[in-house]
């Protein structure tokens, strides 16, 4: 269908070919016609899901998280203070002792990452075969 062909055409718009479980929970547990003549069958965890989907929490935790998030921002005026000549001179100096130390530490970190990647690769080749489980998450 025309709709499916549009999937992924625009990098700014999420256009999934079908609804995810979260989308579905939002729609079919909360909306749609309710008829008063239902027979009761047992519904697995549905009440719980519906309640969860409706809760919007404005808690102390939320506030603390917001406070931390705005604290972390580096703002334009802080970043782009007009730079003075001494600042610029500082930049042009050859790397000092601390800078050299930082470079060295950086290099070590890269080596460690590479080492780790190598180990992972070895483990994969060793044939665990446990990967790929997550891809089967949705019934289609």
């Amino acid at each position: 269908m025309g709709t499916a062909a549009l999937t992924q055409r625009n990098p700014y718009l999420e256009r999934p070919p079908s609804s995810s479980l979260a989308d579905v929970v939002d729609l079919i547990l909360d909306k749609g016609l309710v008829i008063d003549a239902y027979v009761r069958v047992s519904l697995l965890g549905i009440e719980l899901l519906t309640i969860d989907a409706r809760i919007v929490i404005a808690s102390v935790d939320t506030y603390l998280r917001f406070a931390e998030a705005v604290g972390r921002l580096s703002l334009d005026q802080e970043r782009s203070q007009p730079r003075t000549l001494p600042d610029l001179m500082e930049d042009m100096k050859p790397p000092g002792k601390t800078a050299r130390k930082a470079l060295h530490a950086g290099k070590e970190a890269v080596e460690k990452v590479e080492e780790g990647a190598h180990k992972v690769e070895q483990r994969v080749r060793g044939g665990g075969g446990n990967g790929g489980e997550n891809g089967k998450a949705e019934d289609s």
Binding site: S19, L27, L29, L33, A37, Y38, V39, R65, L75
Partner: protein, 258 residues
Amino acid sequence: MIPGTAATLTGATYVYGVVPARTVLPADASGVGEPGADLGLVRHGPVAAVVSAVSADGALGSRRDLLRHSRLLDAIARTTAVLPLRFGAVLADRRAVVDELLAPRQARFAAALAALEGRAQFTVKARYVEETVLREVVEQEPLIAELRERLRGRPAEATWYERIQLGELVAGALARRREADSAALVGELGRWASSVTWRPAATEDGVVDAALLVERAAWPGLEHGVESIAARQARRMRLRLLGPLAPYDFSNELMEEN
């Protein structure tokens, strides 16, 4: 449809939605329960219920059940008017589907389906790019900027209450933006819809969840429109477009009107 009489005696009937009697069900769809039951129509005059057999003592509600319910109805909605029932509608048997569901509401179902003809629901979910809006908030609200500045570099234990106060101010500022942004977005989306309903998104970063009832001829226009809004807003918001869907957000309203 329902295999054997034994199943009808011990089983119950799960109902997905109500459609015009002439509807042809998608061939590849399967019903809820284990194993996915065959789907069928229970017709009554001009309307029909989409049903499958379900064991009365079984439990429903696995992720597979939820997805099957919604994908079947959405598949139908691509071509046919459908009134989706909320998940979990089960009647005693097929006779009860006629006697208790279809017959008492036949005229209203028929009128609602006629009103829906050629339309389906699209849902647009908008979420903030948190860093961008938080930056906006700090840059535009002097009180927040000041408090933030005062807290910089001070230890967390010593500033507990001030940080809660800062967070509360930020939450308030976000709520005001959410209200303004929702109204603007919903107003813009309304151009393509014959009906719009929305509610504030239920997450911290949410802007709005809007449901639109859209005529088939307007589907391509809506898609292009939402794409261009998404591109224009990309710095501040992420948009998600779902549809065509069964009109979950409009069924009750349509039934009340008819």
